[in-house]
Structure formats: C-alpha cells, structure tokens
Amino acid sequence: MSSKGDILISGKDLWKSFTSGDDEVSIIKGLDFSLAQGESISIMGDSGSGKSTLLNLLSGLDCLDKGSLKWKERSIDNLSSSTLSSLRRSFIGFVFQSFYLVPDLTVYENLYLSAKIGSKNMSRDVIHKRIKKYIEKVDLKDREQHSVTTLSGGEKQRVAIARALICDPLIIFADEPTGNLDDHSSKEILELLLSLVEIEKKSLVLVTHNSDFAQYTNKKLFLKNGTFYD
C-alpha cells in the first residue's frame, strides 16, 4: 500500500488524436497530469473537450499517441493489453455515466462478477462478506437479489459505486457519474461517492460538468481544446 502522498499516476506530454474521415482531430494536446495517493481531482470542460478521452488514457483503456504515462512509477506505455488489464484490476475502479451494469444479473451477482474478475485470490467467503459490506454501505440491502434492470437510475449508480470499490482499488475513475440522474439523486450519489472515497482513502478522478460538485475535490482541472487552463 502506498503511503499518503505517493504519486499514483503521472503523465507527461500526453497526446491523443482520432481520425474522422480524412481528417485527424487532436483531442488531447500535450497534457501533463499527476494524481497522488488520497487525492481527488475533478476534470471539467464542455462536451467534446476530451474529458472522457483523458480518463480513458489515464486508466489504460486507450493508448497514447505520444507522451509517457506511469502508474506508481511503472511506465504503462508499452505494456500488452493483457498486462494492462491485470494491473487495472487492483489499481482502478470505474463509475460510468451509463452505469454499465450487466443486465442479466442481480445486484449481488454484478458485484460478485466484478470481485471475481478483480481479485483472483479472494475466497468465496471473503467475496461474499465484501459484497454484503458494500451493499450495506450503498444502502441497497433490500435490493440485493433484484435484477439491476428493475432499479432506478440512482440505485443503479449505487451498485456501480459498490462495484468500483469491491476490489479495493487505489483510484476511482468516475466519468460523469451523475450525468443520467436528476438533481436530487445526483447530489445523493456524489455525496455517497465522495464519502466512501474519503473513508476508504481512495484517490478520485471525477469527470463532471457540474462546477458545484467539483468544489468537493482537492484539485479542479478545466479542459478546453485538449489542454488544461486555469
């Protein structure tokens, strides 16, 4: 476990572009980024400013065109997708705007699947205890055996938060976690996310449109045309 203040992610001169027809569109243009243990950072910007792309790059879901990225001092630039996947298991938890729960599974099973993928050495009993613990923390005890398709948006996002934490990752990446929720639910979910991140001493990268929510993080970054500005 890293001591508080250790740098978990450091990126230098990050570049990413996409091809659109015959044109190449640069989305991320030479960004530097760092995230310390226990730190929370919010990334804000307009639609299409590259927030999600940056999040994908930092989490290893997408690869850089140029630049270097390190996870706990280890460069991930040339790692195979398989190694990257196995590192991601213990390093990162995700909360997505569209929840991305497995619709054929119940609340419990969604968490179980995530725990099984994320932790090879966890016994069934330990997994069960952790699931129970997080279901309780996100206040879904009475919905445990319900299919996730029957849940409300707020409840789905609670499941997603529990799923992100179940494998005890160092960082939570939350990509507009309240984007599909009403104001009341958004506030509730964000408070839940922030409190759990604080209790569990996780680092947080929060992509959001909402500047009010960004106030709760240690650091705020504004992304415009692929670069940060003050």
């Binding site: 879901l61 398989s82 996947s85 497995v102 054929d104 599974l105 099984k116 494998c167």
Partner: protein
C-alpha cells in the same frame, strides 16, 4: 469457479429466467441436428444389423468348398472339422442349378441338398426349421423337396404336389437327343428365408436325394459351418485358421465366411451409412450456424458489456473463452437433449410411424416382412453416440470461436463508447 465460466453460465441461464431466448434457439438447433443424426444412424444400424443377421442365417457362418468341383473323399475332413472346438455344427451339402417343371410352369432355381438322415433340425448349420412356413422338417427325405414360397407360387404348386427336376447332366443328355425321364419329387414344405432373391431360387432336398439327382454318388459341394462364437471378428479369425489348415489338407479348398459371400452388399450398406451420415452432418453445421449467429448477435448486443469486463480487468483471452464456453454449453446441452429426444423418438418409433402413415393416408408399407423386417429396426451403437456427441461439441465450440475472437479484439474504450 472462474469468472468467465460464471459469466458464460449466467449469459445462458440468467437469474430470474430459466434460459435466455438466444440460448434456447441455439440449443434447439443443435438438439435437432444431433437427434436426426442419431435417429438415422441407429435406424441404418438396425437395417444393417438385420440384413447382416439374416445373411449370416441363410449362408452359415463359414463355407468350405473346392475350386475344382465336387469333393469326393470328404469323410476325413468332416471328422476333422467336427472335432474342432470352435465349430458348433458342420453340414455337408451339395448344390447345383437345375430345372424345375410343374404342370403350369418352369423355373431354373438352385437346389441345395442337406444331410437330414442323421441330423435333427438343430444339428444343421442352417436354421431350416426357422425358414419352414408350411410342412415339417421330418417330411424331408430322398423323395421330397422344400421350395421357397415365391418359387412355389411361380410354379403354382403346393404341399403334396409333384414337380419334375432336371439336373444339368440330364439337360445335357436331352440336347444329345437321348430321351430320359426327369426325377419326380413331392413338395413337402415351403420355405421363407425372408430374402426375396433367395426364396425365388430356393429348393432344398436331402443330401442323398440331391446326390442321386445330380448323379454325384457320395460327392458333395462342401461344408456349411456354424461356429459357437457368432461375433464377426471371431468368424474372421476362425476363417483364417481354417484357411491355413485347409491349405495343408488340399490346396483347392476355399474357405469363405458369410461376409465374403456378401461383400458387395455389405460394402454398399457401409457406404450408404457413411454417405447419409455425411449429408446429415450438414444439419449440424446449420445448427452450429445458428450458434454462430446467436453468439455474434450477443457480441454485438453486449459490446459495451465486453468493454466493461475489460475495464474491470478481464483479459482478452478470458473474454474469448467466455463466448467459446457459451458455444460449448450450447453444444453440450443441445447434444444431450438431442440424444434424449432421439431415444424418445426411437423407442416410440412404431407409434410415430403409424401416426405418420395415418397422416399420409398410406397403410401399404412394402418393406415390412422382407429381410425379417416387421417393424423399423434400431440398433444403438455407443461408438456412433460418442462420435456424434464429440462432433457436435467440436462444431459448436468452433462456431463460437469467430464471435469470441471478435469480442476479444474489441478495444475497451471503443466498446464502452459503442452505441
């Protein structure tokens, strides 16, 4: 249980549902293919087995004869064969083509003379008793003959009627304008072996009577042999042993078994089974195509889910395995259901066939009764079951490979963005 196995099972059998719709369609597809393959193979085996058993019954297990005509001093050889512990019965016989004439018609069948003097029906290498449909074995003597039912019909004779038999030598004398009378025999019994071709040309006489007719004195054509062990491999190995011994005894002696004597028919039966099985494999291929389509659709439907699995830390090979396992499960459940369904159909084949005939408004089934077929014959061979089962599993697994590889190749960021 590894997560990919858990996920694959949950995809097929989701919580709160018995089975997913796509899985059900694919399983039915495989089950139908497997059941058709097993039903056809088992019925083909049944027909083949029936015909083989019938051929073995009408030809004896092994036949020994001389390539140089009739055997003269055969007593020693008879004793030697009779003392062989693997041989159950040895029946000397004489055989020849001849002309049979009744008041109404003439025919040119084969006569086979068998030794009835000191033998009961159970001491013969051929189960004559089983073939008799009218008359009795005891009534066969040097003055009487048995006729195949179609031959008797052709000659328009019945039990008690007399027929004139002309041996080839007698016909030769006739062409030399010598006038000789044919031998008169009384029809004492009618036979039905079940093989129309055999029955149309079948005359059975006593060994002595036939020898007299053919002017063969104490000569015989050869021996019909029945073995204790009727297994085809045992017959083959006994045949090889006898062949060696006969070579020492007299070089002109040939040893054949019933498979040799019906090699063409057996070859056709085997080829027919192979060709039909080959054609039916395409049914399984069609079924496996439904697996491929179902899983490809599943990959497309679940693109974002695959992206999520990747984000959670799943490796590409695990995701590919997930879909392959789904194919394998579909193949497994489909094959087992197919085998069960095939059993159900085969065990109720007569009722189903009757219902089919009723629906088709046809009660005239020509094949029944021929080759001892009175119902649709079935023979279950474990070898066929295992082959079909494994083939189905391999095809199902392979059908899942392409969608599985497609899923494994998806980039997580693109998969998560997929609309």
């Amino acid at each position: 249980m590894p997560w990919y196995l858990y996920y694959a099972l949950k995809q097929l059998f989701p919580s709160k549902k018995v089975i997913s719709y796509f899985s059900m369609i694919s399983i039915i597809g495989v089950a139908l293919g497997v059941s058709v393959l097993i039903i056809v193979q088992s019925v083909m085996n049944g027909f083949g087995e029936n015909i083989r058993r019938h051929l073995a019954k009408t030809h004896g297990d092994i036949i020994i004869y001389s390539s140089e005509g009739l055997l003269q001093d055969w007593g020693g050889l008879f004793e030697e064969l009779s003392s062989d512990k693997s041989i159950k019965q040895v029946s000397p016989y004489i055989e020849s083509i001849l002309m049979v004439q009744s008041e109404f018609s003439t025919a040119f069948p084969y006569i086979r003379g068998i030794n009835v003097r000191n033998s009961g029906p159970n001491d013969l290498a051929l189960p004559i008793d089983e073939f008799i449909v009218a008359g009795s074995y005891e009534s066969l003597n040097d003055e009487t003959i048995f006729l195949g039912v179609p031959l008797a019909d052709k000659l328009n004779v019945n039990i008690g009627d007399s027929v004139a038999l002309y041996s080839p030598k007698l016909l030769e004398y006739l062409t030399e304008e010598e006038w000789l009378f044919p031998k008169e025999f009384v029809v004492a019994g009618l036979l039905q072996t079940g093989s129309p071709k055999v029955d149309e040309n079948l005359v059975i006489g006593s060994l002595g009577g036939t020898q007299d007719l053919l002017e063969a004195e104490n000569e015989i054509t050869g021996f019909l042999i029945k073995l204790w062990n009727e297994d085809e491999r045992a017959i083959e190995s006994t045949k090889a042993l006898l062949q060696n011994r006969m070579g020492d005894y007299e070089e002109s002696l040939l040893v054949k078994n019933w498979m040799d004597m019906n090699a063409d028919l057996l070859f056709i039966l085997e080829q027919e089974k192979m060709v039909i099985s080959f054609i039916i494999i395409f049914i399984i291929l069609v079924a496996s195509f439904s697996i491929a389509v179902a899983l490809t659709l599943s990959v497309i439907r679940k693109t974002r889910e695959i992206g999520l699995l990747n984000a959670l830390g799943a490796e590409s090979w695990q995701i590919a395995l997930c879909f392959c396992l789904q194919g394998l499960f579909i193949g497994l459940v489909g094959s087992l259901s197919g085998i069960a369904f095939a059993f159900l159909v085969l065990e109720n084949r007569d009722a189903l066939f009757g219902a089919y005939l009723w629906l088709m408004n046809s009660n005239d089934v020509q094949f029944l009764g021929v080759y001892d077929l009175y119902s649709i014959p079935v023979k279950y061979l474990w070898k066929d079951f295992i082959q079909v089962f494994l083939l189905s599993l391999i095809i199902s697994f392979s059908a899942a490979l392409i969608p599985a590889l497609k899923a494994a190749k998806l980039k997580p960021s693109e998969a998560l963005r997929y609309e």
